[in-house]
């Protein structure tokens, strides 16, 4: 699903000829790949740094904070038999994601706040994977609420944490420690991996979780 090309990683383009955010398209043995820019995507950054990302082609994914779909477009390349529900509450960025979803048959836009998972219960089923990148002070609680409602047992969650969005004044290390404690205390998750995103992002951490 993901190939390595020297220092880069790339995904096989689900819609040949389409570049989503200005990334390079390259051909190998007649197959077109989209280069995954680690500076534009936190999932991309963790993959380049070698974190596991146990996404399967047939997974159902709930993406909180999908924005215009930079990262989601690569997950869409990977989900050849799956589906991704992308939630964002900002109309301007979600507008771009709707346009992207119209070109890719495995993307579903949800215009709502991730704070209110009951708002999109009408369409989102139980999922195998949650990706969260919302940069909000209460993002641990957002994650927990959504996982309780939507994540299957043993399903995975990938979470990007930006220290400054949670507490501008505290030391990133402390913010991350506190975040992990909050996630553990919920009793919902086991923490499989954590990783800092330097040099691609400053004061960011990514976590890979598994639902108990």
């Amino acid at each position: 699903m993901i190939i390595r090309l020297g220092r880069n990683i790339a995904t096989q383009n689900l819609v040949p000829g389409q570049a989503v955010y200005g990334e390079d398209l390259i051909k190998r043995k007649g197959v077109e790949y989209r280069v995954w820019e680690p500076r534009r995507s936190k999932v991309g950054a963790t993959l380049v740094k070698g974190m596991k990302f146990p996404l399967r082609e047939n997974h159902l994914v709930l993406y909180l904070g999908v924005a215009s779909g930079t990262t989601a477009s690569h997950l869409s390349d990977m989900l050849t038999k799956g589906m991704l529900f992308g939630v964002d509450f900002a109309p301007r960025v979600l507008r771009d994601f709707v346009l992207l979803a119209e070109t890719r048959s495995n993307l579903i836009p949800v215009f709502d706040t991730a704070n209110k998972p009951e708002h999109y219960r009408w369409v989102v089923p139980q999922v195998d994977f949650i990706v969260q990148d919302v940069a909000q002070p209460n993002q641990a609680q957002i994650l927990i609420k959504n996982a309780r409602m939507f994540l299957k047992k043993n399903g995975h969650a990938f979470v990007a944490v930006k220290s400054r969005s949670i507490d501008v004044t505290a030391k990133p290390g402390d913010v991350f420690k506190q975040f992990k404690q909050e996630v553990k205390a919920s009793g919902e998750f086991e923490i499989l991996e954590d990783i800092r995103l330097e040099p691609f992002e400053r004061d960011h951490m990514a976590l890979l979780l598994r639902k108990k």
Binding site: F85, P91, L94, P109, F111, T113, V123
Partner: protein, 344 residues
């Protein structure tokens, strides 16, 4: 006891052992289905009237599993979800993106009209003043126009006599100004209506005109919703803010928010603190308006207490340390310290 499910396929009442006892199918045209989804609450009411004992109004069941109960496969469910969600998202975004931009334009048009009528009125009073210098505008320009049309001039006026033709041309000119005043009234009423839709909480707190100005200054409701109170407090004082940063003069205490009747009518020394409290409330109001649109009357809770506190604080001020409570909304950035007492 039954459970409800709202899904992209339709609305369900599900009884024990996964028995579907009611199913209201949605159109298979995505746009229609998106509209029908909005009628869910009415459908719930109908089901209650039918006598179902419903566990909770909130749809609690997994929609894909429920659809499976009537034979909709997983892949069919997902394909359908995608079409309907795209239609729902498009409709919602369309609603969201457009209306606040109308507010921005309307308030801009009102400002243009005010500037224009002021300019035209200046000319008119000078012009008509040749004929009737004793008629004064006072503050009410519209009244001036009315009296002018009535045309009753005091008998001992010092003004010059005008021929029919001269008067006629002036009256026509005045008529076009009156038309602009009517246009202004219509815009104000319209602004009031759309503000109540686009930003109901900001509307209640700040009024249509000031609320619209804040949205316009911020560059839209979304932008305003991202601003902290300290920024909202100085919106419209950008020039003063630049001066403060470049020249080290004291930072501005308040921008357009100063026009708020609860603030502009307060004693001068209290306005800064009241503006800050109002700006904090407006920051929350804008967020609620942008993200949910529900009306939250509680946003003005505690205002009266705050006003009292500020009043009492003022009388006790001499007992307190100089700077406390007097601080500007952000840190002072003085470039040259020596300038501190320079301007007197």
């Amino acid at each position: 006891m039954v459970q409800l499910a709202k899904t992209p396929v339709g609305f369900f009442v599900v009884a024990m052992r996964n028995q579907v006892v009611e199913f209201e199918e949605l159109s298979n045209q995505p746009d229609k289905a998106a509209e029908q989804l909005l009628t869910y609450e009415e459908w719930v009411t109908r089901m209650k009237q039918k006598g179902y004992d419903i566990e909770t109004d909130e749809p609690a069941l997994d929609p894909m599993k429920v659809a499976e109960l009537i034979g909709v496969s997983e892949s069919a469910y997902l394909a359908r979800s995608r079409e309907v969600s795209i239609a729902v998202a498009k409709a919602a975004i369309k609603k969201h993106l457009k209306r606040d931009l109308l507010v921005v334009q309307t308030v801009g048009a009102l400002d243009d009209l005010t500037k224009t009528t002021n300019m035209l009125m200046n000319r008119l009073t000078e012009w008509y003043g040749l004929h009737y210098p004793e008629l004064k505008v006072e503050e009410d320009q519209e009244k001036y126009l009315k009296m002018m049309v009535q045309g009753r001039k005091v008998s001992d006026s010092m003004g010059m006599d005008l021929a029919e033709e001269d008067l006629h041309i002036i009256m026509d000119y005045a008529d076009s100004i009156r038309e602009l005043f009517r246009r202004k009234e219509a815009l104000e009423a319209y602004l009031d209506r759309i503000m109540a839709q686009v930003a109901p909480n900001v509307h209640v707190l700040a009024g249509a005109n000031l609320g619209a100005r804040l949205i316009a200054r911020a560059g839209g409701l979304e932008a305003l919703s991202r601003m902290p109170g300290s920024t909202i407090q100085v919106l419209g004082a950008e020039k003063a803010l630049f001066k403060h940063i470049l020249k080290g003069v004291p930072p501005p205490k308040h921008g357009v928010i100063f026009q708020h009747p609860l603030i502009s009518r307060a004693p001068r020394e209290q306005r800064g603190k009241l503006a800050r409290s109002m700006a904090t409330r407006l920051a929350i109001a804008a967020k609620v308006d942008f993200y949910s649109g529900d009306l939250r009357p509680s946003l003005m809770d505690g205002w009266a207490e705050r006003v009292k506190e500020v009043e009492q604080g003022e009388t006790k001020k001499s007992e307190r340390s100089e700077n406390k409570g007097k601080q500007p909304p952000f840190k002072s950035v003085r470039v040259k310290r020596g300038d501190k007492h320079g301007k007197k």
